[in-house]
Amino acid sequence: MVWYIVRRFLQLIPVFLGATLLVYFLVFSLPGDATAAICGERGCTPAVVAGLREQYNLDQPFWIQYLLYLKGVLTFDLGTNFSGRPIATIIAEVFPTTAKLAIMALVIEAVFGIVFGLIAGLRKGRIFDSSVLVLSLIVIAVPIFVLGFLMQFLIGVKLQWTNPTVSGDATFTELLLPAVVLGLVSFAYVLRLTRTSIIENVNADYVRTATAKGLSRRRVVVVHVLRNSLIPVVTFLGADLGALMGGAIVTEGIFNVNGVGNTLYRAVLNGDGPMVVSIVTFLILIFCLANLLVDLLYAWLDPRIRYA
C-alpha cells in the first residue's frame, strides 16, 4: 500500500513535466510580444522593454526559458507576475476561497445527490423517481451561466436572502449560493449515478441474504446496498473535486468570487504568461492529488481492489 502511494507520487513527475512544458509552450510561443501586455497602450521605452525581457528571461531561447522556469518552481520560487507581485502570494491568497467554495459545492452535490438518488432508486418508477429524473435532466441541459444568473437574480436580488455577489471576505453564507450553482450540474449526475447503482444492487443476491438474516430494511439498505452502490459515485465525486478545485471560471465570474478561476481568467486576458503557467501547473497538481485520493478511497470501499 505504501509502495503504491510512493509509486503514484513518482508518476506525478512525468505528468508535471509534460503538462508544464505544454502550457509553457502554448503561452510563450504565441505570436505577439509578451512585454506589450505589461506596458499597456502607451508603450515602454526600448530600454525598459529590454529590462523586462531580461527580468522574465524573454531574451533567452524557449528551452532555456522553460528550464529556468522549472528551476524556479523546484526551488519554490514561482517568480512574479507581470505586475511585479509574487505569484506564490497571489495563489495563497485566492486558493483558500476556491477551496472553500469547492468543498461546499462537493458536500452539497454529494449529500443531496446520494440521498435523492437513493430514494429514487428504491422507489423506481414511482412519482418521486420520475419527477427527480426530469428535474435532473433539466439541470443538466440548461447551461451553467443561465442557472447562475437566474439564481443570482431570484435569490440574491428579488428575495434578497443573500448578497448577490461575494465580498473579499468570502464568508460561508456568501459562498452558499455560488456553491449551490457550482454543485448543481454534478448533483444531477451524482443523483442519476446513485439511482442506477442502487437499482442494480438492490436485487443482488447478497441483499437477499441480508434480508434472510432478519436485518431491518433500513440496515439492509444503509449497510449492504448503499456501500456497494457508492463505489462508482465516489469515482465521479473524486474527479469532480479536482475540477472544482480548479475553480469555476463562469460561476466565480457571475458571483464575483475572488478565486483561482477568476484570477486565471484575468491572467489570460492580460496575457500574463508566468501567472497562467503557474496557476495551471498548480491546478494539475491538485487534480492529480484528488485522483490519488479517489483511488485510495476506492480501495477502502471495495476490498476486492488491492494495490500492489
Binding site: R208, A212, K213, P303
Partner: protein, 621 residues
C-alpha cells in the same frame, strides 16, 4: 480433508441458544408437530399486468431432523416457492395459502415478527456463495452481524461464537477465514462460510437452495458430507432445493418432484428412486447421466472398480459380493481392447506443451498448463476432465489458437501453430478445420444476429458459400441439429437454452471441421435438455466422423461420450487412457478421488460410494 462428525464444537452451548429468545410461542417441548407445514401454497408473479403462476397449490411438511428434497428443472417453481416461505420474493409477487412454522402462520406475521423468524428460526443457504455474501465485508463481520441481531451478546462473545461456527463447518483456519473477504476464499470455503452464517442462530428450519450447484464434484461431496453431519448433530429440518438427482440421493429422506409449478409426486427417497410413479419422475431419473451405476451392459461399476484399484473393503457391501463385482469389472476391462481405431494422422497433437496467460501490466504471466502431451486421432472423442482451475479450458483454447503456446509444439491437422502470432493469416487458415462450441450458449451467440446468419457466418467468411448455396447449407445444418428451418430468422433470445446450444453446434459444424473443440457445452443446461443435446452430439459425431476434444467437469458426461479420457489437475495431465481404463481401473489417486466424489442417483448405491470415498480420503491423507 477429514469428514468426521464434528464433536460438540457447536452443540454443547445449546443451553442458552436453543431457548425461545424469539418467542416462538412454542416452548420447544410443547409443540410436537412438523417444523414446517405448507398448505395450498400458491405463488404468482405479476408480469405485464397479468398474474403468471410460479407455484400452484403446494402442500408438504418437514419434521425435525428430516431432509425434504424439492426436485425440479429450471422454471419448475421450486426456488420461488421456497423463497416465498420467508417473504424473500421481489415485490411483484403474490403469495397465498398457509405456511405454518412450528404451528405459527408465517405469511400473516407482522413484518417485525417475520424479521425475528428470518435468520433465527429459519435460515437460508443460497446457491452462489460468491454473490450471496456481501463482497465488501469480511466473513466475520457478516456472521457477527447475524449473531448480534438475534442474540444480546457482546461483540467479543459474538466473535468467539463466529469462530466456533467457522470451525464447525471445517474451515481449515477459522481465524483467517473470519478476517477474509468472500473473494479471498475458494468456492467451497465460501459455501462453508455461508453455511456457518446460516447455522449461527441454530435454526429450526434450514432452506438450502441449490447449495452445491456452483461447486466442483469433490467440493460438492465435502459440502454434502458436512450438511449430513450437521443435520445429525443439530436436528434441524432441512428443505433441499436442487435439480441434481445425485445430490438428492445422497441427502434426502423424502422427495417432492416439481414440474411447471406443481408437485407431481412425493415419497420417501427409496420410493422415488426405486418405484417412481409419475412419468415425469421416471423421465427425470432416466435423463440423469449417471456415472457407472453398474446395472446396464455398458455401465461401469465405478464403486467396484475403485474398490479393486485401491484394495478397499466396504462394510456396506458383502465381501464376496464385492469381490464378484470387482472381478466383473476387470473381466470387462480385459475384453475391452478394441477401442476406437487409431488410424490416420492425428488432428491434434500436443507435445510437452506449456501454456501461459501473458503478463498484464504488473501481473506476471501465469502458467496455466505445463508439460501436456495429448494426441487426438481422426474420429476420436477425447474427454478432458478436471476441476475448475485445472487448465482444461486453457488447452481447448490453445488448440484453436486463442492462447499462445509458451513451450512445446501444438499441431493442428498437421500444422504446428505454436509459433504463430494471434490473428496471423496461417492461423486463420488452420482454424477452418476446427469448430468450437462454447459453454454459455446465450452469450456466445450475437444477440443482434438472426441465428441463420450466425450459422452461416463462418462459411461466408471462409468464402465457402454465398447466396442461395449458403442458404441451402444453413437449412441443412438446421436439419442436422434438429431445429425447424423456419427458425433461421429468429433471434437468440427467442430460443430456449437447449435450442441455442443446438445453434452453437450447427455453427461449429458449418465448415465441416476435422476437429471440434467443445468447452463444457452442456453445463448450463437442465438435465433433460442436456441428455437430448448430448444424444444429438453423439449422433452427429458418428454420422460426420469429426474428432472431438470435449472439455467438461462432469465425469458422467465423459462416460457417455468419450472413447479416451484425460484427467487434469492443476495444469498437468495426471492420467490418460481409454474410457474403460480410466473408469474401470483408475491409477492416479486424484482420478480415484474424482470418481468417488460423483454422487449416484440411487440412495443404496450412493451409501457404498460414500463409504468408499471416506476410506479413500482417509488413506491418502
Amino acid at each position: 480433508m477429514s469428514t468426521q462428525v464434528i464433536g460438540g464444537t457447536g452443540g454443547n452451548d445449546d443451553g442458552g441458544r436453543r431457548g425461545d429468545h424469539g418467542g416462538t410461542g412454542s416452548d420447544g417441548t410443547a409443540y410436537q408437530g412438523p417444523v414446517l407445514e405448507v398448505r395450498n401454497l400458491c405463488v404468482d408473479f405479476g408480469v405485464d399486468k397479468r398474474w403468471v403462476p410460479a407455484a400452484i397449490d403446494l402442500s408438504y411438511e418437514v419434521r425435525a431432523g428430516e431432509v425434504l428434497a424439492i426436485v425440479g428443472e429450471s422454471g419448475s417453481g421450486k426456488s420461488a416457492s421456497s423463497m416465498s416461505l420467508l417473504g424473500l420474493l421481489p415485490s411483484n409477487s403474490r403469495v397465498t395459502g398457509e405456511v405454518l412454522l412450528n404451528g405459527q402462520s408465517v405469511l400473516t406475521m407482522p413484518p417485525a415478527r417475520l424479521r425475528e423468524v428470518r435468520g433465527n428460526d429459519v435460515a437460508v443457504i443460497f446457491q452462489e456463495p460468491m454473490t450471496a455474501l456481501n463482497p465488501v465485508y469480511t466473513v466475520g463481520f457478516q456472521i457477527v452481524e447475524t449473531l448480534r441481531l438475534h442474540n444480546e451478546i457482546s461483540p467479543d462473545e459474538a466473535r468467539q461464537r463466529a469462530l466456533r461456527l467457522l470451525q464447525m463447518v471445517e474451515l481449515p483456519d477459522p481465524e483467517k477465514a473470519f478476517r477474509s473477504y468472500p473473494h479471498q476464499l475458494s468456492g467451497g470455503q465460501r459455501q462453508r462460510a455461508m453455511i456457518a452464517q446460516s447455522l449461527s442462530c441454530d435454526p429450526k428450519l434450514l432452506i438450502a437452495d441449490e447449495p452445491t450447484t456452483a461447486l466442483d464434484v469433490t467440493v460438492q461431496a465435502e459440502i454434502l458430507d458436512l450438511m449430513r453431519n450437521l443435520r445429525n448433530q443439530l436436528n434441524s429440518a432441512i428443505v433441499l432445493i436442487t435439480h441434481d438427482m445425485g445430490v438428492v440421493a445422497d441427502l434426502a429422506d423424502r422427495i417432492a418432484v416439481m414440474r411447471k409449478g406443481r408437485i407431481v409426486e412425493t415419497g420417501t427417497a427409496d420410493q422415488i428412486f426405486n418405484h417412481p410413479q409419475h412419468e415425469y419422475t421416471r423421465a427425470l431419473l432416466a435423463a440423469v447421466p449417471h456415472l457407472g451405476q453398474g446395472d446396464g451392459d455398458d455401465e461401469v461399476d465405478i464403486t467396484a472398480a475403485l474398490a479393486a484399484a485401491t484394495h478397499t473393503e466396504l462394510q456396506t457391501v458383502d465381501h464376496d459380493e464385492l469381490e464378484r463385482r470387482e472381478r466383473d469389472v476387470l473381466a470387462q476391462l480385459a475384453g475391452e481392447h478394441t477401442t476406437a481405431p487409431r488410424t490416420g494422422d492425428p488432428v491434434l497433437e500436443l507435445v510437452d506443451v506449456a501454456i501461459e496467460y501473458p503478463r498484464q501490466g504488473r501481473v506476471p504471466a501465469f502458467r496455466a498448463v505445463e508439460g501436456a502431451n495429448l494426441t487426438v486421432h481422426p474420429g476420436q472423442v477425447i474427454g478432458l476432465v478436471g476441476e475448475s482451475g485445472s487448465g482444461k479450458t486453457t488447452i481447448g483454447r490453445a488448440a484453436v489458437g486463442l492462447l499462445p503456446v509458451a513451450q512445446g509444439s501444438l499441431r493442428v491437422v498437421g500444422t504446428d501453430i505454436s509459433g504463430f502470432r494471434p490473428s496471423s493469416r496461417e492461423l486463420v487458415k488452420v482454424r477452418r478445420h476446427i469448430g468450437m462450441v462454447f459453454q454459455d450458449p446465450s452469450s456466445s451467440l450475437n444477440p443482434r444476429l438472426p441465428i441463420g446468419e450466425s450459422i452461416g457466418e463462418p462459411m461466408l467468411l471462409a468464402g465457402e458459400a454465398k447466396g442461395s448455396a449458403l442458404q441451402k447449407r444453413i437449412e441443412m445444418l438446421l436439419d442436422q441439429v434438429e431445429l425447424p428451418r423456419s427458425y433461421r430468422n429468429r433471434y437468440p433470445h427467442e430460443l430456449s437454452g437447449g435450442q441455442k446450444q443446438r445453434v452453437g453446434i450447427a455453427r461449429a459444424l458449418s465448415l465441416k471441421p476435422k476437429l471440434m473443440v467443445a468447452d463444457e457445452p452442456t453445463s448450463a443446461l437442465d438435465v433433460s435438455v442436456q441428455a437430448r443435446v448430448l444424444e444429438l452430439f453423439q449422433n452427429l459425431q458418428r454420422e460426420l466422423g469429426f474428432a472431438c476434444l470435449f472439455v467438461t467437469h462432469d465425469l458422467a458426461v465423459v462416460d457417455v461420450l468419450a472413447d479416451y479420457i484425460c484427467v487434469m489437475k492443476r495444469g498437468r495431465i495426471v492420467e490418460q487412457g481409454s474410457r474403460d481404463q480410466i473408469l474401470r481401473s483408475p491409477r492416479d489417486p486424484y482420478t480415484q478421488r474424482l470418481l468417488a466424489a460423483v454422487p449416484l442417483p440411487d440412495p443404496a448405491l450412493q451409501r457404498e460410494r460414500r463409504e468408499l470415498r471416506a476410506k479413500l480420503l482417509a488413506s491418502t491423507d
